[in-house]
């Protein structure tokens, strides 16, 4: 079994390479994905090896990227679209919500749009405005789309391949501030035996409270759990992985044991993923709860200027503060 230490970004690159090798219908398209290898180098070297018909530098227009990808999908291709930054996805919003998401439904199942829309999302890199947003709720709210986010190099490598192989249209959210974090990646493990794409997973077992996160906040929550352990509190961390559909079975099981749950995300809290998760935990685990489900999230402001983003983003202290509050109920 070939196991390598890769950054999350390199693991995505390896996963994309494998998808291109395995299926001649897979095409990558986006701004600067070719010669440059993308602004984050996620597609580095792929155009050189697969040619400019498989890895396509597109004109600079996001609706055009998604709209033409719909046409390519109707033609039988499997487009993997890169949106350069989260804040640039909105020009494509109509195509994603009104076309990508609804084609299968409108055709009564006769047409599939097996498209992956990769979006580097979230903050923490000191970027200028429109480069640090967390738009997941917009997409998770849309029937016909599936939404996933990876948090580790191993998951990045496997999940991108699973998303491309899926016939569902999938918004694939990449935690851009974690692109450079390293981890062990099994490169040869068969996809058919991999952990399912649309399934949550316990990232750290614990007994006292349950932290729920996805994408960039999984690392934050794991760090919080390590710090809490030093104070004698044993926190369970669940990596949700799939935001639409949510897979909450493992969450309910955990919360029934711990009685306490804190949902953590960078996106603003108002009507965010945490609201839905809290509502459903309340419905399913009402008699097990020792405290209301709490949320630690971005504030309901536009994403702020970079020099204050550390205050905006949930961090270890804010997570532990929320955990403390669940014990004070």
């Amino acid at each position: 079994m070939a196991t390598e230490t890769l950054t999350l970004g390199k693991a995505l690159n390896a996963g994309l390479r494998k998808a291109l090798e395995n299926d001649p219908k897979v095409v990558i398209m986006g701004e600067d994905v070719g010669k440059l290898g993308g602004v984050f180098r996620i597609t580095d070297g792929l155009q050189k090896d697969f040619g400019d018909q498989r890895v396509i530098d597109t004109p600079l227009a996001e609706s055009g990227i998604i709209g033409t990808a719909v046409g390519l999908a109707i033609r039988g291709y499997r487009p993997v679209c890169e949106i350069q930054f989260d804040g640039f996805v909105y020009p494509a919003y109509d195509q994603i919500v009104s076309q990508v998401a609804k084609m299968h439904y409108r055709s009564r199942g006769k047409l599939n749009i097996p498209m992956v829309i990769r979006i580097p999302f979230g903050g923490g890199i000191g970027a200028v405005e429109h480069h640090s947003e967390s738009p997941e709720a917009y997409f998770a709210h849309t029937a016909g789309l599936k939404v996933v986010s990876c948090a580790s190099p191993q998951d990045a490598y496997v999940m991108i391949q699973q998303a491309i192989a899926s016939d569902d249209p999938i918004v694939f959210l990449e935690p851009k501030r974690r692109y450079w974090e390293k981890g062990q990646v099994e490169l040869d493990a068969p996809l058919s035996e991999a952990y399912p794409l649309h399934a949550s997973r316990v990232a750290r077992a614990g007994t006292d409270a349950t932290l729920l996160a996805y994408g960039p906040m999984v690392r934050t929550c794991l760090d919080a759990a390590t710090a809490a352990a030093e104070d004698g509190r044993n926190l369970e961390v669940i990596d949700l992985r799939t935001l639409s559909p949510l897979d909450l079975g493992v969450v309910y099981e955990s919360v029934r044991r711990t009685g306490r749950a804190v949902v953590v995300h960078e996106a603003p809290s108002n009507l965010g993923m945490g609201a839905e998760i809290a509502a459903r935990i309340t419905e399913e685990c009402f008699y097990s709860l020792e405290s209301p489900v709490l949320r630690v999230a971005g504030f309901d402001t536009p994403y702020p200027a970079a020099r204050v983003e550390e205050e905006y983003l949930p961090d270890l202290d804010r997570v532990l503060d929320a955990v403390d509050r669940t014990f004070g109920w």
Binding site: G64, T68, G71, S107, L111, G144
Partner: protein
């Protein structure tokens, strides 16, 4: 060959009509049949292309039959809406020639991306006209396989389909299906209002830089619901193509012959790998935008009357009569066929069953969703909770 394809090889072609100059007084407009039904042998477009058609009598009669049938079926759908049997209808009245001319110019292997008004193109593709009526009756949202019919589902969001057409055309080129006589071409339909949309302009950019085998077919029917052309553009629409680096031509969209000639030429260029082009079919929406609209609020009767005089069917009939290509018996027979097909359409629309409520959960995802399975089960239990429920 598609049903009744006038491009089919045929013997006994008519002698070419007398050579004429365009009588429209509009040098920008490609026209082969004047409003009074006079044939013009050939016309040279703005880029020097010579347009002509060479049809047999049977083919001329076939085009006339298409025009009449398409208008009659459209009128039947309007009537069905007025009687409460359709939720809404977007009539093509006045645009029959633009649709029949371009629709018949398509070859079997070509792919079309319609708006929601291309009932005439659909008919010419040999597709059962009942197909889109489920959408307007409210029993489905399209429901057909675009690849089976080489005709995409109707697209209601204005201009969105032009990008789909462009991507599909990119795929045609990537598949190596251009560059020969049997290459594939793609046609994207849209209207004058759509030319203001970002998606349409992005499609122009894309098709241009990727040299896609695509014909942009704009039916300029002069109105985007209530807004006149002047609210969309300062220059003739076909001239926009120049800015994107491909040919543009304006054709008399009420002239089925010229529309056919111009579209066939553009499609053949596309299939031979010569890239995209824009056709502006200059026409007029004689009816309302949809059955929910009231055009008397924004246009004057004399304008409508002026366009009435350019009617696409009347001029074709005048031509057939003048040239003795068809007799009274033929016209009666076509009217009778149209009546029969309209009655048949009506009966089948009335027989369309309503969908079962829980079918709303079908086909949201190819791979399904546990969330939806749960909601469907809950919904079923809810329905079953009613005493005496049939569910």
């Amino acid at each position: 060959m598609a049903k009744g394809d006038p491009g089919a090889p045929a013997r006994g072609r008519r002698a070419a009509p007398r050579s004429r100059k365009a009588t429209t007084g509009d040098p920008e407009l490609v026209q082969l049949l004047t409003p009074s039904g006079e044939r013009i042998e050939s016309v040279t477009g703005p880029d020097g292309t010579e347009y002509r058609v060479d049809f047999t009598d049977e083919e001329y009669r076939g085009l006339y039959r298409d025009l009449v049938l398409v208008r009659k079926l459209d009128a039947e759908a309007t009537a069905l809406q007025r009687q409460g049997e359709l939720g809404i209808w977007a009539s093509l009245l006045g645009q029959e020639a633009a649709q029949v001319g371009s629709g018949r110019a398509l070859r079997t292997q070509d792919m079309a991306f319609p708006t929601y008004r291309e009932h005439g193109v659909l008919y010419c593709r040999g597709i059962d006209p009942i197909m889109p009526l489920g959408l307007f009756r409210g029993v489905d949202q399209g429901g057909w396989d675009p690849n089976e019919f080489k005709f995409n589902m109707y697209t209601i969001v204005i201009g969105a389909q032009t990008l789909h057409a462009t991507g599909y055309a990119m795929g045609v080129a990537m598949d190596g299906k251009t560059g020969t006589d049997d290459g594939e071409a793609v046609i994207a339909y849209f209207g004058d209002g759509a030319t203001s949309q970002g998606d349409v302009n992005e499609a122009f950019v894309w098709a241009g830089v990727f040299n896609s085998p695509l014909v942009f077919f704009c039916q300029n029917n002069q109105y985007a619901i209530s807004e006149p052309l002047e609210r969309q553009t300062r220059i003739p629409l076909y001239r926009r193509a120049a800015g994107f680096g491909f040919p543009g031509v304006r054709v008399d969209g009420n002239d089925v012959l010229a529309t056919y000639a111009v579209t066939r030429h553009a499609l053949d260029n596309a299939r031979h790998g010569q890239g995209p082009s824009l056709i502006e079919a200059y026409t007029y929406r004689m009816g309302a935008h949809t059955t929910s609209d009231d055009p008397t609020r924004y246009r004057i009767a004399s304008e409508v009357e002026a366009w009435q005089a350019k009617d696409p069917i009347a001029r074709m009939k005048a031509f057939l009569e003048r040239e003795k290509i068809a007799d009274a018996g033929f016209f009666t027979e076509v009217d009778e066929q149209a009546r029969r097909e309209a009655v048949d359409l009506r009966e089948r629309v009335l027989a369309m069953p309503n969908p079962e409520p829980d079918t709303m959960f079908d086909h949201v995802y190819p791979n399904g969703s546990p969330l939806l399975d749960e909601q469907r089960a809950q919904f079923s239990r809810y329905l079953e909770s009613f005493e005496g429920s049939a569910h």
